[in-house]
Symmetry: none
DNA sequence: ACCCACACGTGAGGC
DNA sequence: TGCCTCACGTGTGGG
């Protein structure tokens, strides 16, 4: 835009030489830079190259200025210092965000990790050769802790609930999760008042119920 | 480091003038820049100012180079283009991180927001006249989050499971707890494939189911 | 020898 | 007016 044309450049060079040396007796050089009939005029070889270099650098500075939103001045120096402050701000923001994200992931990844663990457990179970797992532990005289893993099929859970209810087993606290291809049920169950609770019997009963459900839904 | 001292600078300037004009008759200028006894030597007024400006700009460029870790070359132009690419990379990283964070927050905040939305639904439930509480929030296009509080009565939970199963509702994750006189069920449910999921319909359906169960077990 | 990048001093122009 | 920034052409040193 404010670039002078070639002639004016040459003229400026001449003026520069004149002002530098204050020589008035020298004849004026030709307007065309490529003329070399006048051997007094020295033309540097890397004139255009230097011109391209300056142009490229200016373009890059303009690009640098264009991508950061915080600009205080159009100056060549302030472009750089603005870029520096912007880079620092971005670095701090990245650090803050990654830290925040990491912190937030730490809380929500526990479930994912647990799920992954369960998936692995299910995979291990398939290696183990049995599709259903029943574990029973006694909590107190009429409470049991139960863990059940069965194949995931529609309606099995409600049937299991119904069967347990029919056998007088009451679920106190239950946690029920589906992972790919399996139900995982952990529950604290309680037998009816008056009935005696024996861990092996309960486990057999649970296995019978599960077998019944599995055979019916096959 | 490769900065020449003042004397050499002056000498370079003299050499530059000599080479430019090829004047051999002129006497050599003094080494000190501030001498002006030789009036032939033209000294621009903004020489030191320009020198400070260049020095400052060079320093800022070095600072700009020092804060970005990715440097391909020591060149003045590559410093700028490296800064540009680094800023772009930082911008993308900030955008990615914030988006990820926002997305992660949305999963945990959606339930809260939905809960707030459903609170007035719960208020409507009191008009319905039954002690049961049903809250429904949408997780994604075919998943709902459900919270149910009903009176604790034997077999209600299994009946509820059965009813839900009959209506094509599948329980993915369920947490079931009995406290004094009540069942508390929170569950992530999923409708059958092909069925469309509408939150108010699902809530009405749940309310009907619970109402039916409650009336039958009265 | 060439090429490239940089520093230099200076004029032009804007405020 | 002065101050400040920029573009210019050139010399120079390193590869």
């Amino acid at each position: 835009m404010e670039y002078q044309d070639e002639d004016h450049l040459c003229f400026t060079m001449e003026e520069f030489a004149l002002a530098t040396e204050n020589v008035s007796s020298r004849q004026r050089m030709s307007r065309k830079r490529n003329y070399d009939d006048d051997t007094r005029v020295y033309k540097s070889k890397n004139l255009e190259i230097e011109r391209r270099r300056r142009e490229k650098l200016s373009t890059r500075l303009l690009m640098l200025r264009s991508i950061n939103p915080i600009i205080t001045n159009m100056n060549r120096g302030t472009i750089i210092v603005d870029a520096i402050t912007y880079i620092e701000k971005l670095q701090h923001e990245v650090q803050r965000l990654s830290q925040e994200l990491h912190q937030l992931e730490a809380t929500s990844e526990k479930t994912a990790e647990a799920k992954v663990d369960e998936i692995d457990a299910v995979e291990d179970m398939k290696h183990w050769g049995i599709q259903a797992e029943v574990r029973v532990a006694q909590i107190d005289e009429n409470k049991l802790w139960v863990k059940i893993i069965i194949e995931k099929k529609r309606g099995r859970f409600s049937k299991l609930m119904e069967a347990l209810n029919n056998f007088g087993i009451e679920l106190i606290d239950t946690n029920f999760t589906t992972t790919k291809g399996a139900f995982l049920i952990t529950s604290c169950i309680q037998v009816k008042d008056g009935e005696r609770l024996e861990i092996h019997q309960s486990k057999s009963l649970l296995q019978e119920i599960i077998n019944d459900i599995s055979s019916k839904s096959e």
